[in-house]
């Protein structure tokens, strides 16, 4: 327990977390500090490209583990399955409409790549190795949850039709394509390719992540301010309970298929995190009547900060206890 706390403490005092806190505080204090949309998008492209490439290069270096397929399958199962748990939990804890609950559930089956990136960076900082192909698992987990949510709605005869073209749009959305594409490039060009561009994608990575999290803090803070009162206590409780449930299931599955300790932590983080880019856009098309303030505020304003600050250290501690490091 004291170890968890000290880990959490050292995590909280990292430039990454403090940058997020700065953004959050600035937005809540109504400062006009803001990062241009184009720059924020540019940074997220950088992060996706770098994380994908590094994952691919690491796979090229260590060979494809026999657990790769199992990990992909575990990720897809989680993404399909977690929305049902989320939906049930929402129905218990909140008075949300079925439509809103289904939309929220989709977010929690899918993943937040920035949470994943932050976890990677914390693992690296502590010298815990992990499987390079976990970024491929992340990509595989983005979409399935959307189908579960639509099925939850359709079962109720409540619209939520799968518009023509939507599936293609989801599977080919920019972040999936970039993540998978740079993973493949990293795999093909291997350590030699990585060495060529490491001064761009490796050494300054953490610094860029700081500025990106500053922006995430600004966005989360502004969201919290604008949607004051949208979330009741039950919803907030859901926003911190659901990630822990996801993490525990991820822990079980990860141990089952034989991932390394670092890999288990990353699967926990993927299960615990909630989407705030791909899924919201899909929901606007597929479930336009669901209230975006609810799912964005929960995912970005509650779960993301929770995972970033307390969640990740907790998951690391849990995995260490259960699997040993």
């Amino acid at each position: 327990m004291t170890e968890i706390l000290s880990l959490a403490g050292s995590n909280l005092a990292s430039p990454i977390i403090l940058s997020f806190a700065l953004g959050l505080a600035a937005a809540l204090a109504r400062s006009d500090l803001s990062i241009p949309e184009a720059v924020a998008k540019g940074m997220s492209i950088y992060l996706l490209f770098a994380i994908g490439f590094k994952g691919g290069a690491s796979v090229a270096a260590h060979g494809i583990d026999s657990t790769l397929l199992k990990a992909l399958a575990a990720g897809i199962v989680l993404s399909f399955g977690l929305p049902f748990i989320a939906f049930a939990l929402l129905k218990t804890l909140t008075g949300m409409s079925r439509l809103d609950a289904a939309a929220v559930a989709a977010h929690y089956g899918s993943i937040s790549i920035v949470t994943f990136v932050a976890a990677t960076s914390i693992l690296e900082g502590r010298g815990i190795p992990s499987e390079g192909y976990m970024v491929a698992v992340a990509a595989a987990m983005e979409a399935p949850a959307i189908l579960s949510a639509l099925w939850l709605v359709a079962r109720n005869g409540k619209g939520g039709r799968m518009e023509p073209g939507l599936m293609r749009e989801i599977l080919l959305n920019g972040s999936i394509v970039l993540l998978v594409g740079s993973f493949v490039i990293g795999m093909v060009t291997g350590e030699r390719g990585l060495a060529e561009i490491a001064p761009f994608i490796v050494t300054p990575f953490k610094g860029v992540l700081c500025l990106f999290l500053l922006d995430m803090g600004l966005v989360a803070g502004r969201g919290l301010r604008q949607s004051k009162g949208v979330l009741g206590g039950g919803a907030v409780l859901f926003g911190v309970t659901m990630p822990m449930i996801g993490a525990v299931i991820g822990l079980g599955l990860g141990a089952l298929i034989g991932l390394s300790m670092g890999g288990v932590v990353l699967l926990m983080v993927l299960a615990a995190s909630a989407s705030y880019i791909a899924v919201p856009a899909a929901m606007r098309v597929a479930l336009p009547e669901a209230n975006p303030s609810i799912y964005l505020t929960l995912s970005l304003g509650v779960t993301f900060p929770f995972n970033l600050t307390l969640g990740i250290p907790l998951y690391v501690a849990l995995a260490t206890m259960m699997i040993g490091g």
């Binding site: 803001s34 949309e37 619209g159 600004l218 966005v219 705030y276 856009a281």
Partner: protein, 102 residues
Amino acid sequence: MQMHTAKRVEIVIEKPLESRLTDALNEAGVTGYTIVPVRGGSGRSGPWTREGQVGRAGMVMIVCLIRPERLDSLLDAAFAVVERHIGVVSVTDAQVLRAERF
């Protein structure tokens, strides 16, 4: 200068719907339009601004100049897309140069 009567239709719609709207316009035979970015706004679903929109894709404004007799088919097409979504449609009387273009 010879001018021709036209309608100016202005549609504000969520960005994820943009391609669906332009596809619908194309099907309705409307092939001329201009898309203007939107920095923010306010409506029944509250105020928002574009800076640092993570997750919220924002809105766009689409401006179409068309011959008056084609207004109805345009509005039908637009309404089918906008109907269930956030968005606003307005129409103004206008004059255009170079009617051969419409």
